[in-house]
Amino acid sequence: MDYTRILSKKSQIMKPSGIRKFFDIAAGVPDIISLSVGEPDFDTPWLIRRDAIRVLEEGKTAYTSNAGLFPLRKAVSDYFKRTIHNEYNPENEIIITVGGSEAIDIAVRALVNPDDEVIVPQPCFVSYAPIVELTGGVAVTAATYAENEFKLTPEILKPLITPKTKAIILSYPSNPTGAVMRKHELEAIAEILRGTDIIIISDEIYSELTYGEPHVSIAELPGMKERTIVVNGFSKAFAMTGWRLGFCAAPAPISEQILKIHQYAIMCSPTISQHAAVVALNDCVNEVAEMVSEYDMRRRLVVESLNRIGLSCFTPEGAFYVFPSVKKSGLSSQEFCKCLINEKKVAVVPGDAFGECGDGFIRISYAYSIKHLTIAIKRIEEFINEI
């Protein structure tokens, strides 16, 4: 059978994720030390796990409503009030999703008509562009640069806006760069978008993991709530990656459409996770603070060590990634990472896996113990000295 004739063209032209490719290279090497993982190394706080056990014991395992358990939507609503000072109605503006991943997917699907353009600042999380393209839209890359600490600036954004621009996917704190955008920097972007019909999908999955000032959402700036879909989730802040739970909030007319897609594609998010997530949002402030404090110490250590050994990087203020330049080595990201694996058995992710403008950089995750980080950096140092 000639499957290429049968299978969807959109699916076939979709490139496999650069991360996946790199995983295949790294996974085959025994005793590898990895700095390549995009998820917390902490266990989910016990309070949350205990609640999930309770839910199982009590047999609360049926579907929930499509939008999600009401107490959880209420907790999300309170959370947004507390953190980004916006009021979202838990009745019709908040949807509990299968991770931030699903929220991004269904938000894009609810917005994009064929040939609509969606601006995607890069380097960025791997799924944005493929989701846009699968939906029939066109992903327009907005390359950002180390000189600006990989922030989106009006100068980068403005020339990319056309009559076909439907949306922009903003993602700060950023995976892979750790960059954050401050209020005045967001304001400069908001200024361009106010008065247009462009919708912002703001992926704020790392909002709890900031190390300077607290996170600011573009949705809380004047006039922006009505044109923003805020995406967030439990994976990073609460170390709950495997629970597959996230959420989005948007004005009711948008949320209604998103909910329809969620309802047909997913029915409802995992019930056990939803119950336990109420505990996460309402009772885990200390646990989160503890993890943030630990990440912060590692961040300082990693940034200082990398700069010392000649992999220059700016000090990221969010997420758990550092994105140093490897240009001095004279190698491309791909070459650097492959040689580093072969010669020192250390796995880091090549920057171009997050978009072409990420070439010349590598992503280092510090979601590892200090001991692990110290050993890995020592090996990277040896590697650099031997090039």
């Binding site: 994720s17 991360i19 790199f22 995983f23 790294a26 996974a27 590898i32 990895s34 390549s36 993982v37 995009g38 998820e39 190394d41 999380f125 791997v126 799924s127 995976n175 404090s293 110490m297 590692r298 300082r300 250590l301 200082e304 796995a347 992710v349 200090i370 001991k371 110290t374």
Partner: protein
């Protein structure tokens, strides 16, 4: 600051002052001063290695001895504790709230010498009314460090 420093040292006292300083956002000199102060104040009593004793060639035998005391004017808890603590075989002496008074860990070369130690050195101490000895059979965690657990269940690479 001090709490954060102590927390880091509890996990790994071999971090250098430079590393500690970077992580806590102060200079190595300030770290050195803080540590000196902690030592002078008697908060930090010393530094040790966390061992998985079962992997040593000469493992020896470790026992936890529960000791019940009838304190008297002459021999209060503290003086009994001090007498016990002076024996080099003794690794720790802790006053316990509950059915007995002291939990004493001792390390001896073999079973027999634990028995001898208890009979010859602990039981004659004035004020001790009962002793119950338990032998340690396995260790899973010491001083906050888990043993033989490869905890990282994450894949090598993920987005």
């Amino acid at each position: 600051m001090q709490n954060k420093l102590i927390k880091l040292l509890r996990k790994d006292a071999r971090l250098t002052n430079e590393e500690l300083g970077i992580m806590l956002g102060i200079s190595a000199k300030e770290i050195a001063d803080e540590i000196e102060q902690l030592e002078n104040n008697g908060i930090i009593k010393g530094y040790t290695a966390i061992l998985d004793e079962s992997k040593l060639e000469d493992t020896g035998v470790t026992a936890v001895i529960e000791v019940k005391v009838m304190p008297s004017v002459k021999y209060g808890y503290k003086s009994v504790a001090k007498i016990i603590a002076r024996f080099p075989e003794v690794e720790s002496v802790r006053l316990i709230a509950g059915d007995y008074d002291f939990s004493v860990t001792v390390k001896c070369p073999d079973l027999n010498s634990v028995g001898m130690f208890v009979a010859d050195k602990i039981s004659p101490i004035e004020g001790i009314v009962s002793i119950s000895t338990h032998f340690i059979m396995g260790r899973y965690k010491e001083l906050g460090r888990e043993f033989d657990l490869d905890n990282d269940i994450r894949g090598v690479v993920s987005p």
